[in-house]
């Protein structure tokens, strides 16, 4: 088809100077054919672009329709109820929402400072020849499917935590008045803390690579000026690089948060799937995505299925807000770099 089109174009060029009614008519016919194809292609691409919009509206619409029975039955009470009883068909989202928020918070608390530190190392300290390999290694870490983190977390990380970190936390921080309830209970290995730590490892590459990209976007003149007046490397990062890139860094952090909130497989393996809100970080819990992954195919009855879809809708709304904010911030910094 492509070669046929090419021949036609060549013909047109050759016959351009020819005068005669037959040739002219043929030429205008060929031209109008081209014009038709041209506008067809244009409309096709436009339709595909609109399709992307429809995709997102389709996601939202289908989730709303699917969750309608549960929405009608439970209303806003769904958000604050801790019950999760498939037998009496009484459902509430408090425990999954709580688990999602707590695991993501733990993940961000660890991943953000570490990620920023690595980004600082890569842009300021690291010898030039080592930058690319380390950068690539970090990005490969980002490409590993989440199920790998999950299986590793279940078989290696959770037993390790059960024997080392968790008993240690229970015997030290668990004795401190005030925060003792956060470390109460037996060390199961699996639980909210384990899930948060796995998420931290998962989110780390995202935070690192975005921070590195925005750090690299700082105009060298600014840094050179700061070094020129005698700043140490840390002072350059703290007082020049970070203020300049603040918006971009926050954008990257939000993007990582979006990942952490919606992550399914890495969490499902190690969270323990317990529908209760527990102050203890080492107790089993659940997240929105883990609940859906664990229970959806086994859910019987309209209300059960519909409640799970409603959970999905809540997750989507939360991540939508976080991601929109992240994109807005990153767009701002992109515009500034131009």
């Amino acid at each position: 088809m492509q070669s046929a089109g090419r021949r036609k174009v060549a013909d047109l060029a050759l016959q351009g100077g020819a005068i005669g009614s037959g040739v002219a008519a043929e030429r205008s016919r060929a031209l109008s054919k081209l014009k038709l194809g041209d506008s067809a292609f244009r409309h096709l691409t436009r339709a595909a672009a609109v399709f992307v919009l429809l995709l997102l509206s389709g996601v939202i619409l289908s989730l709303v329709i699917g969750s309608w029975p549960a929405l009608v039955k439970f209303g806003a009470g769904f958000l604050v109820s801790e019950r999760w009883n498939p037998v009496t068909e009484n459902f509430g989202a408090l425990a999954p929402i709580y688990g999602t928020v707590v695991t993501s918070l733990i993940a961000m608390l660890i991943a953000v400072p570490v990620g920023l530190m690595i980004a600082m190392f890569l842009t300021e300290l690291c010898p030039q020849w080592l930058r690319r390999p380390i950068g690539i290694a970090i990005e490969l870490l980002a490409g590993i499917p989440s199920i790998i983190y999950g299986i590793w977390g279940l078989f290696v990380f959770a037993p390790f935590l059960q024997e080392t970190l968790q008993p240690f936390l229970i015997s030290t921080l668990g004795e401190v008045p005030g925060i003792a309830p956060m470390f109460a209970g037996p060390p199961y290995g699996i639980g909210v803390l384990t899930a948060g730590l796995i998420l931290a490892i998962m989110v780390l590459p995202f935070v690192t690579s975005i921070s590195r990209d925005v750090f690299e976007a700082v105009p060298p003149v600014l840094k050179e000026a700061a070094y020129g007046v005698g700043c140490t490397t840390w002072e350059v990062v703290r007082y020049v690089v970070l203020p300049y890139t603040r918006v971009g860094v926050i954008g990257g952090v939000m993007l990582g948060l979006g990942r952490a909130l919606g992550e399914t497989m890495a969490v499902t393996f190690v969270i323990g799937n317990a529908h209760k809100v527990s102050a203890s970080l080492i107790a089993p819990g659940t997240t929105i995505s883990a609940t859906i992954a664990n229970e959806f195919t086994e859910a019987v009855g309209d209300i059960y299925t519909s409640s799970l879809i409603l959970l999905g809708l809540i997750l989507f709304v939360i991540t939508f807000i976080v991601l929109s904010f992240a994109r807005y911030l990153l767009m701002r910094i992109e515009r500034r770099i131009g």
Partner: protein, 284 residues
């Protein structure tokens, strides 16, 4: 110099040394996880790797077997997802870079596409369940492929747009000046110039979906047997890993590790190829 300034200098040097030490430690920490995870994976995965993995079906509990149906299922699902998602993604990216570079529609699509790019994949599974599995009344391979294609589309849209933006306008002007219609200019000139980058995008999309589990859980479901019927549930590597890893049977757990190794090697190979492709383009 006075002793006071000496003290300040010493303090600043100390702070600097401490923070630089911390950043070095953080890097070692971050890379340590990569080594640890890959190390465990290689160790556990290779000890279960044998020819049987590629020639036998997934076994019932307690028996030995392989992962053939899961590997085939994954390949077919990925292939179909790319087949569905790539044309849509390329066309949409083309619109944004070539026709509506500054139009309102493009900036909205760009924003929405970025949201889709990082949307939780389990939600996409729920979406396809609602629009395909529920109306059809049964789980199917088609539903799984479509769910994966929803993940492919935003990746391809993004890379296509980015790569077409890099094509110099002088090429387009040269094409226009010899009277080439715009559509032919895009297909013959712009696509050709951006080819390596666009292939990279597709490879990245394949890498992304080949490990996706969540959207398949309630679309393609799982199948213990060999099945080429895309209207029925189809096994896939990630779902089999999920099921086998959480089982109490040692044989199943060993197969899960082996499956995880196969997926990781495939994903790493894909991302490295994609990287090599895009860096060779930069140099030329």
């Amino acid at each position: 110099m006075s002793r006071a300034t000496d003290k300040i200098y010493a303090g600043r040097r100390r702070t600097n040394a401490v923070t630089m030490g911390l950043s070095l430690a953080a890097t070692a920490f971050g890379l340590g996880w990569l080594v640890l995870i890959l190390g465990t994976l290689l160790w556990e995965g290779f000890s279960g790797l044998s020819l049987r993995v590629f020639t036998e079906m997934t076994p019932p509990p307690g028996a030995s077997g392989g992962l053939l149906n899961a590997i085939m299922g994954s390949l077919v699902l990925t292939f179909l997802a790319v087949l569905i998602g790539t044309p849509i993604g390329i066309l949409a990216g083309t619109y944004m870079a070539e026709y509506g570079r500054h139009s309102q529609l493009s900036s909205i699509v760009r924003f929405i596409n970025d949201i889709l790019l990082s949307a939780p994949s389990i939600v996409i599974g729920l979406f396809i369940y609602e629009v395909m599995v529920y109306p059809m009344g049964h789980f199917s391979g088609w539903a799984g492929a479509v769910a994966l294609s929803v993940i492919v589309i935003p990746v391809v849209v993004r890379t296509t747009e980015d790569m077409l933006m890099l094509v110099p306008d002088t090429l387009r002007e040269a094409a226009a000046s010899i009277g080439l219609p715009r559509s032919l200019m895009i297909i013959r000139i712009a696509y050709r110039a951006a080819k390596a980058g666009m292939i990279t995008g597709v490879l990245l999309a394949v890498a992304r979906i080949s490990g996706e589990t969540a959207p398949l859980l309630f679309t393609a479901l799982n199948n213990q047997f060999w099945s080429t019927n895309m209207n029925a549930p189809v096994a896939s590597l990630p779902v089999v890993i999920f099921q086998f890893a959480l089982s109490p049977y040692k044989d199943w757990q060993a197969l899960a590790w082996t499956g995880a190794l196969i997926i990781t090697l495939a994903v790493l190979a894909l991302s490295i190829t994609a990287r090599a492709l895009s860096s060779s383009r930069k140099q030329s």
